[in-house]
């Protein structure tokens, strides 16, 4: 299967482009995604379905916030943090955003070094990405603790509309779960890269297929998606 993907990459230079290319690819029988391996196509399709899940969460949040007659708590004040003697609005969330963006940057470079078969740098950058991710989850745990101590519950909070708590825990909780799974995924693949599994053609434990460096890019797709979801959560939940 991997072999088909490779030969197809070669053939892709002669394929039609633009709308004609879309029609040709989709009507060609067998495979619509010509120069993409099944692993990458499946990750994209999974991410598409995950997009719908997060869309549903954000949509239900929008619906409850628009339809409630009770004022919505001001996120700027709720998520403010006292540093020194000053309340700085949303500062923790801003730092979390920068951490996640940085992790995306290191991941993108890991993919690049992976295709150059630079094992040490790929593994190091993937572990750096995982470390950023773990830091993010840690800060989220701190944020949850702070809010729970202040009395936020899924059924109520001291500042306004009751749905604030349920929306917050549902959306950020689901996102945090995704980050956690991503960290585990990153560490597992980084170990394989470090050990040189993809250079010597060592067989994987689950499917007993030989892996190659494309798995670094597929892991990267998942990780960038987690960052992408945070972009929407940051804008729509925290800033709105």
């Amino acid at each position: 299967m991997a072999e088909t993907a490779l030969t197809d990459t070669v053939a892709s230079t002669t394929r039609p482009e633009g709308w004609r290319g879309i029609a040709a690819d989709w009507s060609s029988d067998q495979r619509a995604f010509k120069n993409v391996s099944w692993g990458k196509a499946m990750m994209w399709i999974f991410l598409l379905s995950d997009t719908f899940i997060f869309s549903c969460f954000l949509l239900s949040y929008m619906t409850t916030r628009m339809s409630t007659t009770v004022p919505w708590p001001n996120p700027g004040e709720v998520f403010a943090l006292r540093i020194g003697d000053r309340e700085i609005p949303l500062i923790l969330i801003a730092i979390m955003t920068f951490i996640l963006i940085s992790s995306s940057g290191t991941m993108a470079m890991a993919v690049n070094f992976g295709y150059r078969h630079d094992r040490a740098r790929t593994a190091a950058l993937m572990l750096a990405t995982a470390a950023f991710g773990a830091t993010f989850v840690g800060m989220q745990a701190f944020e949850w603790t702070k809010l729970i101590m202040e009395g936020v519950r899924p059924w109520g909070n001291p500042w306004g509309a009751e749905q604030f708590g349920s929306s917050f825990f549902m959306i950020t909780g689901f996102h945090g779960t995704h980050v956690t799974i991503g960290v585990i995924f990153l560490i597992a693949i980084a170990r394989k890269v470090w050990r040189g599994d993809f250079d010597v053609g060592r067989r994987g434990f689950f499917t007993s297929r030989k892996g190659h460096y494309e798995i670094v890019e597929i892991t990267g797709l998942y990780w960038h998606f987690v960052d992408l979801v945070w972009v929407f959560i940051f804008a729509l939940f925290y800033l709105w």
């Binding site: 072999e3 490779l6 990459t9 070669v10 892709s12 230079t13 482009e17 633009g18 709308w19 290319g21 879309i22 690819d25 989709w26 619509a32 995604f33 010509k34 120069n35 993409v36 399709i45 991410l47 598409l48 997009t51 719908f52 869309s55 949509l59 929008m62 619906t63 409850t64 628009m66 339809s67 409630t68 007659t69 700027g76 609005p89 949303l90 801003a94 955003t97 963006i101 940085s102 995306s104 940057g105 993108a108 470079m109 690049n112 295709y115 150059r116 460096y213 890019e217 990267g220 960038h224 960052d227 992408l228 972009v231 929407f232 940051f234 804008a235 729509l236 925290y238 800033l239 709105w240």
Partner: protein
């Protein structure tokens, strides 16, 4: 697996490797997603700038339509950069790009439906459930 099978597989691999080596000079740019590191660093920088901008919208307390349009603008720009460059969608064939990017756009129809729905709910609540002291 028998010995012959192992041998056959080994030969197939070396053959494949040879064929691949022969093709490499011509197609080196199509193997995997290889782009200069500088590109990623530039995008990284822009994501930082855009995030800072959207944070400053809140920090300076900009309100009303300007706030929402700025937030949405920065959000869309960041999402676009991540998908196009970090996730390499800009270099994929259109058959994949459209298959993945069009369905989420249709979620906007859902958004429109729920805006009407929640407006209606809000109206009913305001009329029938308003606190009458």
């Amino acid at each position: 697996m028998t010995d012959t099978a192992v041998q056959l597989e080994g030969r197939e691999h070396s053959l494949h490797a040879q064929a691949h080596d022969a093709l490499v000079p011509a197609v080196a740019h199509t193997k995997g997603q290889q782009h200069p590191i500088k590109l990623y660093l530039v995008v990284w920088g822009w994501l930082f700038v855009l995030s800072t901008c959207s944070y400053l919208v809140d920090y300076f307390g900009i309100h009303g339509h300007l706030r929402w349009s700025l937030i949405l603008l920065f959000m869309v720009l960041k999402a676009g950069l991540i998908v196009a460059v970090f996730m390499h969608m800009a270099w994929e064939r259109l058959a994949l790009a459209y298959a993945i990017l069009l369905p989420p756009v249709l979620v906007l129809v859902f958004v429109a439906i729920m805006v009407f729905e929640s407006d209606y709910t809000h109206l009913l609540r305001a009329i029938f459930f308003a606190p009458t002291a």
